[in-house]
């Protein structure tokens, strides 16, 4: 009896001890180790996703309407888990029936060993995605991904840029406005079920809705842009050049209506580009010595200082000796004789530009003249600095500092007065000449007309004035007939394509710029052909700049490789009704 009671007591004691152990263990796990196990559980149950924001689209003007030129499209990546495939042959044949392609290639991918994730195809369409998923093939799956789409192909490609595989804008507007276009990604942090679906009952869930990027409307006119690109393509062939950069700007507000470079590329297939230099927007990033188109800035500077008048004449010795170097004109200019301001521009007299620099000082090249010229170019015309146009890469160019300790400073500045020894981009010189033609206001050049926020609010990009009274208001009207005379002189000289109706104002200036050798000095047979001009009716409506890089033409590059492109653009603008004639 005692023995039985003892046994019962022992069993009872063991049960109590066992329960005690359980209680202690539970206390340890649930109370002491609470934090550890909570975190462990959450690591399985709590999932966090970043939800990408929709990238803003880019639009432009076409015939008064706003049309999209950059959009987003959802494509799918097709992948397979080879370990789950039951019938490789059927899987491959079903894929081929929808996507086409090589059956054996798919078979080898499907049979890949030692992996659970093999990508079979990229960028399949929504329709193809639906058809493939309808087969319900084991192991096969698709993952959606948004891609940037440029429906017009290579149109405005360099000024647009593209979006790389990481979703980041590179080059052009895509790069400059990347943060504006990309928006703010959303975030979901939630306890999920086994399939990853968030459980709504969890109070700790975080659900931040993504904020889409702004839509951007460019100042670009699609019609002008398309035709500009066609003109560059044609003239690239006829002038056998290394490349052409050109732009059309409204001088009255700094808005660029067309901007193109050739050769170009299709941003939809940027990965196929073998020469990355085609990604550059040369109109803002390629600074070169501009040649004689610089005289269109030296002249208004001297006019504004009052040291010359539009009808001033002077004796031109046809050469100047500066720092021991001979500055001359071309033989066709006729040797020493009395010349005028008009002939400095129409005959493109280097000696005339040097003479104007002398007049800006004390009648010779001196510190006063050099400082004055530098002040106009660097501070008023804002050369040698970034314009701030909305592009990924911009070159500041180069204006030599007025360092009077430089023993060659006189020669250096004599050269700059007619466009050698300094570096400019097309956008810089277009903005500078625009400030003269519009009455003295330097507008920040821009490609953005307005932005539209996700809530539909329109933010208009008002013209931004960077400099007032660049030159006095009368200088523009004084310069216009001088540059019109240049066009007329070429027409009289047999350049029939420079024939324009007298209902329009058309003026301009050629530039044939020597190309510097890397080892010093200039090539004797390689030139860049440049042109800056304008077209308008009652007022100047467009400034046009052309940089034709190393063309291979007979005659002066400015006259035979730059000027014809300007003429094509000006005729296009007039003939297509983009210019209002004189009233």
């Amino acid at each position: 009896m005692n023995s039985n009671a003892s046994k019962i007591n022992t069993i009872w004691a063991l049960i109590v001890i066992l329960i005690g152990i359980f209680i202690i263990r539970l206390f340890y796990v649930q109370v002491i180790q609470y934090g550890y196990y909570k975190n462990l559980a959450l690591s399985y149950q709590l999932k966090q996703y970043e939800i990408p924001a929709n990238r803003g689209i880019i639009e432009a003007y076409d015939n008064g309407n706003v049309v999209p030129i950059v959009l987003n499209q959802t494509f799918y990546t097709l992948y397979i888990d080879p370990t789950l495939v039951k019938n490789a042959s059927k899987t491959a044949s079903d894929i081929v029936s929808v996507l086409g392609g090589n059956f054996s290639n798919y078979m080898s991918l499907i049979k890949t060993k030692n992996t659970r994730y093999v990508i079979l195809n990229h960028k399949i369409t929504q329709t193809q995605n639906k058809k493939i998923l309808a087969f319900h093939l084991p192991g096969l799956g698709t993952q959606s991904q948004d891609y940037r789409v440029y429906p017009d192909g290579s149109l405005a490609s360099q000024l647009l840029g593209f979006v790389d595989n990481s979703g980041k804008g590179v080059y052009g507007i895509e790069q400059y406005l990347n943060s504006t276009l990309s928006g703010t990604p959303g975030r979901v942090k939630a306890v999920t079920d086994a399939n990853g679906v968030p459980l709504a009952a969890n109070s700790g869930n975080i659900d931040i809705v993504p904020k889409p990027g702004n839509n951007v409307v460019l100042t670009i006119n699609v019609g002008i842009q398309t035709q500009l690109e066609q003109i560059l393509k044609n003239d690239y062939t006829t002038t056998k050049s290394q490349g052409i950069n050109a732009l059309v700007m409204d001088p009255n507000n700094g808005q660029v209506v067309a901007m193109a470079n050739y050769p170009t590329y299709d941003p939809n297939n940027y990965q196929n580009v073998t020469n990355p230099s085609v990604f550059d927007n040369g109109t803002v990033s390629d600074a070169i010595e501009p040649g004689s188109i610089m005289k269109t800035l030296t002249t208004p500077a001297a006019l504004d200082m009052g040291v010359i008048q539009p009808n001033t004449t002077f004796y031109d010795p046809a050469h100047w000796i500066v720092n021991g170097f001979n500055i001359t004109d071309i033989e066709q200019d006729g040797g020493p004789r009395v010349q005028s301001i008009s002939s400095i521009l129409s005959l493109s007299l280097n000696t005339g530009a040097t003479w104007m620099l002398m007049q800006m000082g004390g009648g010779q090249i001196d510190k006063t003249g050099i400082d004055a010229w530098h002040n106009y170019m660097a501070n008023r015309f804002r050369l040698g600095q970034l314009t701030g146009i909305e592009q990924g890469y911009e070159s500041p160019g180069y204006i030599p500092p007025p360092n009077m300790n430089d023993p060659s400073i006189d020669l250096r500045y004599a050269n700059t007065s007619f466009g050698q020894g300094l570096l400019l981009t097309p956008i810089q010189i277009a903005s500078a000449l625009s400030s003269v033609l519009n009455g003295g206001t330097y507008y920040k050049p821009t490609l953005v007309s307005e932005q539209i926020t996700p809530s539909g609010k329109t933010i208009v990009n008002q013209p931004k004035i960077l400099e007032k009274n660049v030159v006095s208001a009368k200088i523009g009207p004084e310069l216009v007939p001088l540059l019109e005379n240049v066009v007329k002189a070429y027409l009289q000289g047999g350049f029939s394509f420079m024939n324009f109706s007298n209902k329009y104002i058309v003026g301009g200036k050629t530039g044939t710029a020597q190309v510097a050798q890397p080892s010093g000095g200039y090539y004797s047979n390689i030139f860049n052909g440049t042109y800056i001009g304008f077209v308008g009716g009652d007022k100047i409506q467009y400034v046009i700049v052309v940089f034709n890089i190393k063309p291979n033409v007979a005659g002066y590059a400015g006259s035979y490789a730059g000027q014809p492109i300007f003429a094509d653009i000006a005729h296009m603008l007039i003939n297509d009704g983009y210019v209002s004639p004189k009233s």
């Binding site: 049309v67 959009l71 929504q126 959606s144 429906p151 459980l199 709504a200 009952a201 024939n499 003939n575």
Partner: protein
């Protein structure tokens, strides 16, 4: 106050309202502690059940939300694709290469603005 206490109070009130009754046999019925415990456990279970029902119901909304979000996402994708298709159909390249454009007959203009 327990449930049984409350019953007896109610009955006392009833008794006082019926004083003209000839005879009234007082019968006090109370619930013991076990009954109380069982009732409390049942109530707790009911509350728990109600909680679970509500949580499940709320979570089912999560599935609905998820399904609607997926539907929204698909519709946005579809809209994007249609926008792209529309833009591609209207692009200059497409128009230039269209049958209509190819069938256009070039003519020499009699006058141009250039002259």
């Amino acid at each position: 106050m327990t449930y049984s206490n409350s019953l007896s109070i109610n009955r006392s009130k009833y008794y006082s309202n019926n004083q003209n009754t000839v005879s009234f046999k007082t019968q006090t019925r109370t619930m013991g502690p076990i009954s109380n415990t069982v009732v409390l456990i049942v109530l707790a279970c009911l509350v728990g059940l109600l909680y679970l029902t509500q949580v499940t119901k709320t979570n089912s909304f999560g599935y609905q939300i998820n399904a609607l979000q997926q539907q929204q996402s698909q519709l946005v994708s579809q809209q994007n694709n249609l926008q792209v298709a529309s833009a591609q159909l209207q692009s200059v390249n497409t128009v230039q290469n269209s049958q209509v454009a190819k069938s256009l007959v070039p003519i020499t203009p009699s006058t141009t603005l250039q002259n």
